[in-house]
């Protein structure tokens, strides 16, 4: 561990924690949203679709500001959380995870939705004629067949969460050890005299991390494709 400075370890560890927690917590919601958009039709569907995709197009600062208004200690939801449970989200790493999750959500849903739409519904029908109820069909047929899409969604969301900056700094600020993730630490160093060398190191670490995530996901995707019958 002598390779990294304590500051780098702190930022790297925090970034990984924020990204992992945000992806794991948003996964069930992402699946539900993908299923809703791919398989259901209901009034206001295009509005829901639009709202889910909003973080992709509005400035991240706006997302951070909205989160602050809603989840800040005096915010609508944040105030209630603090009064009822004593939980504070704003200016903590949990808030950073939420900001990352919201920003990454459209990417995750998009990938999952596409893969769900590609699942052959005739296979699901076949499973039902074999005596499997809807829940069993979803777990044993639908989920495994959309696994490559889930993986793609997870990797995209993870990468997006690692790189989250605008919404995070707006919502949870720049607190060393609490909310100073890799990109924020990098930004801070560029604003500091003599910080160029340390900033360059952090940039290299960020690129290395992203590369590792992509290589790992490619490897898993190839294994999945082999199991699903040599491509397709």
């Amino acid at each position: 561990m002598d390779w990294f400075t304590p500051l780098e370890i702190e930022a790297l560890g925090l970034s990984l924690r924020v990204a992992v927690v945000s992806v794991i917590c948003s996964l069930p919601f992402g699946l539900a949203a993908a299923w809703l958009l791919a398989r259901r039709s209901f009034p206001g569907k295009s509005l829901v679709d639009g709202v889910i995709h909003l973080p992709l197009v509005v400035p991240p600062v706006v997302v951070g500001y909205v989160l602050l208004v809603a989840l800040g200690r005096r915010g609508v939801i944040g105030g209630w959380l603090y009064d009822s449970f004593g939980v504070t989200i704003a200016f903590t790493w949990k808030g950073a995870a939420i900001a990352a999750a919201v920003m990454a959500f459209p990417l995750m849903v998009r990938a999952m939705r596409l893969s769900l739409e590609a699942v052959d519904r005739r296979l699901e029908a076949a499973a039902r004629t074999l005596g499997a109820g809807k829940a069993r069909v979803f777990v044993t047929i639908t989920l495994p067949l959309m696994a490559p899409g889930i993986l793609a969604g997870v990797v995209l969301a993870f990468a997006r969460a690692l790189g989250e900056f605008g919404a995070t700094i707006t919502f949870v600020s720049n607190i060393p050890g609490e909310t100073r993730t890799l990109p924020i630490a990098l930004y801070t160093l560029t604003q500091t005299p003599d910080g160029e060398a340390a900033a360059a190191r952090l940039a290299v670490i960020s690129v290395g991390l992203a590369l590792a995530a992509i290589v790992a996901s490619e490897w898993i995707a190839r294994r999945m494709a082999r199991r699903l019958g040599g491509g397709a």
């Binding site: 029908a125 076949a126 004629t129 499997a132 495994p144 199991r227 699903l228 019958g229």
Partner: protein, 371 residues
């Protein structure tokens, strides 16, 4: 026993089908593509919902619009063999087969079905490495292992080439004969019906045009536009009477007559169904004796009917009804009329292996107790 009486509107097309299938055996749904066959069995399976009507299988109501009954597909216990093959690509053959098995099923049943369909060597393979015929066998095994009370087969041979068809047909016969599995079989291939089916349901434009025994419906001239042109002909049930291996012939008996065909390796006493194509039957006013044709049956003209193409169909009762296709010129020259005595001439070699249909008799004793 299947009772169907359903209605379903699909755009301009209305499916309106009512029929009662026999107990056990194979009920064939026959009709051109677009006649509504697949929609009908999807409704039986619960994958499509009729607008109105009732579906009852073995006394259990699966669907009744008036009573608000619509059982989920997984509760119907109807095996479904799909035309295009629907093995789960992410599972091995073994896991595909086991998908519909209940936990209390014994390994014996698995082994029995695997042996019956000869798929033992495929168990650890992945579905995408299988040939079309192998896939279809695995699919049949998977449906059987889910312990269905009835098997729905939607053109299981339609996507296979000739040799693959010949590979699968005996297995379907084994389901019928060894497992006594009632089957609803969708097809537009007449040779499969002659070989397999007991009851025939002819569908046309979303309606049931006729229901009855294969032999009976095939001899009806009014159904001729639906049963096909080129391949049309009479279907008879015959018994193997004897062989003459030296002269390479087999004798088949029906209604006191003997039909000579090329040697076929089938035990004496076996009941068979054969098809005599109308284009292979000639007519004569007197019995010719210096002719190579071996089968000369005296009979009486029952019906003569025009075909669109100017040829004519003549039905002759020789004990059973045989169907001859001749030109208008021939009818005029012989001055054929209903009631006339004629001789029907059938070339022995016209009855080839493909004309030999299913072995009957096994199901005639009735009770379809599942093995």
């Amino acid at each position: 026993m299947i009772e169907v009486d359903i209605r379903r509107k699909l755009g301009d097309f209305t499916l309106e089908a009512a029929f009662t299938g026999s107990h056990g055996g194979i009920t064939a749904l026959f009709g051109r593509s677009g006649a509504g066959k697949t929609t009908l069995i999807n409704m039986l399976a619960g994958l499509d919902r009729p607008d109105a009507g009732r579906i009852v299988v073995n006394g259990e109501v699966l669907f009744d619009a008036a009573a608000g009954i619509d059982k989920a597909p997984e509760k119907r216990r109807l095996g479904y063999i799909f035309q295009e093959g629907r093995l789960f690509p992410h599972m091995s053959v073994r896991r595909n087969l086991a998908y519909g098995m209940k936990r209390y099923d014994t390994a014996d049943e698995f082994d029995l079905i695997v042996a019956l369909l000869d798929i033992g060597p495929l168990l650890d393979r992945s579905p995408h490495t299988l040939s079309g015929g192998e896939k279809q066998r695995v699919e049949i095994g998977r449906a059987l292992l889910a312990n269905p009370r009835l098997l729905l087969m939607d053109g299981p041979l339609a996507s296979l080439d000739g040799p693959r068809k010949a590979e699968i047909l005996p297995f379907i016969e084994r389901l019928r004969d060894e497992l006594a599995m009632p089957i609803v079989y969708v097809t537009h291939a007449m040779e499969e019906i002659v070989r397999l089916a007991d009851t025939l349901v002819i569908m046309s434009d979303g309606k049931v045009a006729a229901v009855g025994a294969v032999e009976e419906l095939m001899s009806r001239l009014d159904l001729r536009p639906l049963t096909g042109r080129y391949e049309a002909g009479a279907v008879l049930t015959v018994t193997v009477v004897g062989h003459d291996e030296e002269r390479a012939i087999t004798r088949l008996g029906f209604d006191g007559m003997t039909l000579v065909v090329p040697y076929a390796n089938i035990p004496v006493g076996e009941d068979l169904r054969i098809r005599i194509r109308a284009r292979d039957v000639s007519l004569a006013l007197s019995a010719p004796d210096d002719i190579s044709i071996l089968n000369i049956f005296p009979g009486r003209v029952v019906e003569i009917s025009d075909r669109k193409d100017g040829q004519m169909d003549v039905i002759v009762d020789v004990g059973a009804r045989i169907w001859a296709r001749v030109t208008r010129l021939a009818v005029n020259r012989l001055a054929l009329e209903p009631g006339m005595e004629v001789y029907a001439l059938v070339k022995a070699v016209a009855i080839d292996r493909q004309s030999l249909g299913r072995r009957t008799g096994i199901n005639i004793q009735g009770d379809a107790g599942v093995a």
